[in-house]
Subunit: 440 residues, 2 copies
Amino acid sequence: MISRVMSAELAEHAGQRVTIAGWVHRRRHLKSVSFLVVRDRTGLAQAVTGPNPPVGDLLAQDLPAQDLPAQDLPAEESVVAVTGTVTASPQAPGGYELVAPEVEVLAEPRTAPPFDLYRPIVGATLPTVLDHAPVALRHPLLRAPLEISAASVAGFRETLDRLGFTEIHTPKIVASATESGANVFGIDYFGRPAYLAQSPQFYKQAMTGVFERVYEVGPVFRAEPHDTVRHLAQYTSLDAELGFIEDHRDVMTVLREVVAGMLESVRRRAAPALDLLGVEPPVVPAEIPAVHFTEAQRLTSSGEPDLAPAQERWLGEWARREHGSEFLFVTGYPMSKRPFYTHPDPARPGHSNGFDLLFRGMELVTGGQRLHRYEDYVRALADRGEGTEAYEGYLQAFRYGMPPHGGFALGLERWTARLTGAANVRQSTAFPRDLHRLSP
Amino acid sequence: MISRVMSAELAEHAGQRVTIAGWVHRRRHLKSVSFLVVRDRTGLAQAVTGPNPPVGDLLAQDLPAQDLPAQDLPAEESVVAVTGTVTASPQAPGGYELVAPEVEVLAEPRTAPPFDLYRPIVGATLPTVLDHAPVALRHPLLRAPLEISAASVAGFRETLDRLGFTEIHTPKIVASATESGANVFGIDYFGRPAYLAQSPQFYKQAMTGVFERVYEVGPVFRAEPHDTVRHLAQYTSLDAELGFIEDHRDVMTVLREVVAGMLESVRRRAAPALDLLGVEPPVVPAEIPAVHFTEAQRLTSSGEPDLAPAQERWLGEWARREHGSEFLFVTGYPMSKRPFYTHPDPARPGHSNGFDLLFRGMELVTGGQRLHRYEDYVRALADRGEGTEAYEGYLQAFRYGMPPHGGFALGLERWTARLTGAANVRQSTAFPRDLHRLSP
């Protein structure tokens, strides 16, 4: 390994001669001294050449690029190893800087980045960012959502591991569409037609018969014909399913633990990213408020059998105002609006034991209790005018005894976007796939 | 949640009246008593009806099925909740059983399993097992490899998290083939041709420019035309990539930590599965022995530019004999046998800084140092008669300064199969995909 200390560890090496390594984040020349700011995975460190101490906070001073004469310091995004003596400097990032530096260039960039990575704000449009993701994501503000995303997933798994769940990996190539016949990508599977899985729904249910409690973190695929700020053709689905429940409320209890665990993990693992973005993660109430769909309809004066985005937003405001909660469950969605595997509410004909979790007025999680008896599946499919042929592999589990069960699916990109306040879900994934975008 | 205690917790409730819930694993009738063995996610528990204590170890007695008169106990694989008084019984699993039981049936099976799940061995062929995976995987012997698999992945992530790696999620739908033009699944992407990713190779390299150290656990897809015991059309790839290395040996050092961490996690998290399968995880030497490819050729008297499976097996035996190691690195593979992104060995023309890790004589991991300079990629592609057009998205990262880096990919199913001694990689995944199999 290249022998080095990380920029965040400089203080521990005061007075020593050490090597840091990373990318040239910024170079800057003053009358008598020059600064080289190096970015590594822990943050920024500066090296200073010349006899004088730094005359100000270099990072806070965001001079126009033309003020920076190109001298003999390596260009921005050069990969460098810088050896110098660690010296206290109140103006340097972390309070220490390297003096009397020797700079070794490990790799030179061929091209300047499409926008300046050192500026505190991102001076490029979203399409430019996405077209140049491999370099654009080096900007601390663009990298931060991905750190929050990684910390969120770690918290998802940590919580479910603690609750006795087992991680599974299920097929992404399937013989028939899972969620609906539409919006599915076709694939040539050794000369046979097959599809990309729209969810691990059938498999996680089947594995509930094996492990009782399972989760999967994996890609799902939707051939979304809509070009919106909240749809992707591939996204990361955080799926969980558990058996031996009374009804959907047990699923909601687990989901509340999961969301709290994800936020706790983000606070613990991604604090610098939260600080950088100015994000304060919300507090999850001990019990997340819940309204029944019919009540949500009444509150939003809606007569429709589903909630439109504007109504979800209104409900998000209402939950904050009335319950002091950023989260709101909507329960009892009409059976007609839920997939065929949804368990009906025994007490309210036409309504389901299915729920959505709204986060700041946007649907974040869909879940519910599922049917668990074979004959109920046959009837549910018949009621929708479908036979069981296409679902035989799926229905197999239910022939052999399945416990009452339910689960949920949370879209990682939507979660991260909502948490960080990003307007577009494409800002919370490295290489989005959509109607128009297949590269990089 | 259905109020219950787990079978493994019975001892903590001695003398109390409690409810367990799970599947009827086996029922058995003797002259004066009947036994109902219930399986839940923590193991087995038995309930006994009638006045007499059990007369022997029920589980050890594997009487033919016809010896079991079908009486009024629910059939095998019924989902039940059994309430009874926890009573010490030396012959019962865990030393306690439920007496004076009341049995509630939560779901009845419609069909008997294709083979008896309670027998200590699996009385079915692999195709029968795979065709009936949702029920077959309930057999403790068939479930155990999946528990070991989950524990292995947890150890992979745990080790890399500790070493400062960041988890990423990358596109599985790509514009051009990553590893080679062959063995790739085509997909209709909104009317455009696209492919399923054969590896996250290009993306994990690009993200090394962002986070320095990254990993991904995700599906990869290979349109393998070969019907062998070690190939799957979809498998779970454990990928890692790190920057600021000297050469491939730094990657090997990290890989050694990862393999040790995976095995430690398996011992800690999946001890019952190991016991059940009679598996003793191997010890990883502080330094895994390594032989150069030319030396491996000499040892196996091979003149070929690659190692055949028989030679790998021979080397596995040799490593055990000579070094007391189940693991062996083979380094310095010929450049002609490695992908174009492989870094050459500066000291040995024609050889690479690429390596394989053999585990018990079978290739388990491929890795190495990669090229990191844009012009080296252009030259490497030209040397293979290829232009850069198809790789522009990939090569973008290298235009902007990339550190010396390398990484590796480990196939989860192969790992689990090798660890558990399974003859076929299909025994270490729930729902394998291959040339012939697309369901369940």
